[in-house]
């Protein structure tokens, strides 16, 4: 059994670490610091923590102002409120101005669980991806989230970090070398490629095991940086494996699947399928029940792989 850890915990712990190294880092939260895990930073560096109350638009605007005065602000709340309620603030006060704000949104996707559809953000990657100049990162596990938070901090410009609530399997080794804008090869194969992000990377690994039982060896790519997307890795996978499936805990419209299909459509069309939320809202349930309910499982991914391989013929 793999070790299970949440990416939001990686975020909270890494913030404290970064806070010790870099006095310019400040953290803002909108009354959710216990859940987003920014409370560790708040305790360690109370003067550099700004509690904004339940006011997400002001959260983003204030973060922009702090950045304009030389700070490196991490603005946190749930993905629903961090992107839906604040689109204009992120678009105009942060991205249009090219301001160095890091938006670290937790509780993304349906793995929020019981809180239900109102809190299950499945459009955030799409919303952030269409903003010019925005970098979008979706870490797959605790290790990658730790590295991604550090990379975001070192990067000059607006970044959207998508983090999860639940404990997911730890996939990468401690010495994992995260590279912003680069896909990571999780395992190699030539029958087809699954390009996944977030919680679905683990599912893609499981799918690869299921398929291996049928003698099908697939490549699994972890596409943590959805923007700028690693075109080279996508085209290479298309050319070398001839079929692609994407897997994401997000609406199939506008997210990773769309980003990959754009590259394939323009560069090297191959049989292709998107595993994700099929353009419907979430609902209450346990995270595992919801992943099952919305078809975000190893079996769904494996079935999609079989279909695209079939279409290669």
């Amino acid at each position: 059994m793999a070790i299970m850890k949440a990416t939001r915990d990686a975020y909270g712990e890494t913030l404290v670490e970064l806070g010790k190294e870099n006095p310019h880092i400040v953290v803002l939260d909108a009354d959710l610091s216990a859940s987003t895990k920014t409370n560790g930073f708040a305790k360690a560096f109370p003067k550099r923590f700004v509690q904004m109350g339940i006011a997400e638009q002001d959260l983003m605007g204030t973060a922009a102002g702090l950045a304009l005065a030389g700070k490196i602000p991490f603005a946190s709340t749930f993905a629903m409120f961090a992107t839906g309620r604040t689109y204009d603030q992120i678009r105009n006060s942060i991205a249009y101005a090219g301001v160095n704000v890091k938006i670290a949104a937790t509780h993304a996707g349906v793995t929020v669980g019981e809180d239900g559809g109102s809190h299950q953000m499945i459009e955030d990657i799409a919303l952030m991806r269409v903003i010019p100049g925005m970098t979008v990162i979706v870490p797959a596990d605790f290790i990658e989230a730790t590295a991604a938070v550090k990379a975001a901090s070192a990067f000059e410009g607006p970044v959207y970090l998508r983090l999860g609530r639940g404990a997911w399997p730890v996939i990468f080794p401690e010495n994992y070398n995260f590279q912003l804008g680069k896909a990571a090869l999780v395992q190699d194969g030539d029958a087809a490629t699954v390009i996944a992000c977030g919680v679905m990377v683990g599912k893609a690994q499981e799918a690869a095991k299921l398929l291996a039982d049928f003698g099908i060896k697939i490549r699994v790519l972890n596409m943590a940086t959805i923007k700028p997307v690693d075109k080279e890795a996508i085209l290479k996978a298309a050319k070398e494996t001839g079929a692609i499936v994407t897997a994401e805990e997000h609406n199939v419209i506008g997210g990773l699947g769309s980003a990959v299909s754009e590259v394939l459509g323009e560069g090297w069309p191959v049989p292709f399928e998107r595993v994700g939320i099929q353009d419907v809202f979430g609902r209450s349930g346990s995270p595992d029940e919801l992943l099952e309910h919305f078809g975000l499982t190893a079996k769904t991914v494996a079935d999609a792989v079989k279909r695209v391989i079939e279409r290669k013929k």
């Binding site: 605007g61 102002g65 602000p73 105009n92 006060s93 101005a97």
Partner: protein, 279 residues
């Protein structure tokens, strides 16, 4: 470099007149833009840029500078007029407002225009940005001050009141918000569009120090900013009662001149009035 506090009120009034002329000329050249809310803010802007703000034009990003955020971004022409007159870019650039190859965008773009501190235009966001700057100043024990100019119609944006809570909650006495209360917005009077009675009381109830002034009386503007600078422990709101289109008779208090540029003939009449010292 400290603000040029040697200017007399008369000199500041003259400066405001120069700014107004630029606004008219720019908008005439551009063929579109927002004269009403630019002219209403001219006296406030003249006092800010030629008396209050501690700036170094030679070092625009000097960390110790005072910051000005034009939350009512559609009044960009008056800001550009100030920045050009201060020397951030050549005055001749003003004629390029809103043109395809210009650094003077329809609404302020800090990435294109030297001296612009924040990109604004989508109303309601400037006070939050100013708060962030003021918070950073507090964290760094810096002594710079932050000023935001808001429109009265803009106060209908809920985000302004989120920000107003934050300014007071964090005792941002290094911040002043000036409301250009010109009583008009695009669809009519502010009162008719979405009633906004008691703006001063609203800010006061949020924990702000508040001063109400005639936004065209230089002496009152100077006094209000002095008061703001001397206020400790809370932010100051200056509710400046103004006349939209101030200084150009046919634009004054006219809803239609919110977002319409004068034609060539109207430009001449307006410039004539401003040159003649007509109030």
């Amino acid at each position: 470099m400290a603000g040029c506090k040697q200017h007399t009120p008369e000199a500041l009034a003259e400066k405001a007149k120069v700014l107004r002329k630029h606004v008219i000329s720019m908008l005439g050249e551009a063929g579109s833009g927002h004269p009403g809310g630019s002219l209403s803010a001219a006296d406030i802007m003249a006092v800010l840029y030629w008396h209050e703000l501690r700036l170094d034009v030679e070092t625009p990003h000097w960390p110790g500078r005072d910051r000005f955020v034009l939350s009512k971004g559609h009044a960009a022409p008056i800001l550009y007029a100030c920045l050009a007159e201060k020397g951030y870019f050549p005055v001749e650039d003003l004629a390029s407002l809103r043109k395809i190859d210009s650094h003077l965008q329809g609404h302020p773009d800090m990435r294109q225009t030297p001296g612009v501190e924040a990109s604004t235009g989508s109303l309601g966001q400037g006070l939050s940005i100013a708060n962030g700057m003021a918070l950073a100043g507090k964290m760094d024990n810096a002594d710079y001050r932050v000023y935001a100019l808001l429109g009265d119609g803009e106060l209908q944006e809920g985000m302004v009141w989120e920000a107003a809570m934050t300014s007071a909650h964090y005792s941002l006495d290094n911040l002043a918000a000036i409301v250009d209360y010109n009583r008009l917005q695009i669809d009519g009077t502010v009162q008719d569009v979405m009633g906004l009675k008691g703006v001063a009381e609203r800010f006061r109830s949020f924990g702000w120090a508040v001063v109400e002034i005639d936004g065209h009386d230089i002496t009152q503007i100077l006094a209000a900013l002095d008061l703001a600078r001397g206020t400790k422990g809370r932010p100051t709101a200056v509710v400046a009662h103004t006349v939209k289109g101030k200084g150009v008779s046919f634009m004054e208090d006219q809803v239609g001149w919110h977002g319409q540029a004068p034609n060539a003939e109207q430009v001449q009449v307006a410039l004539g009035e401003l040159a003649g010292g007509k109030e």
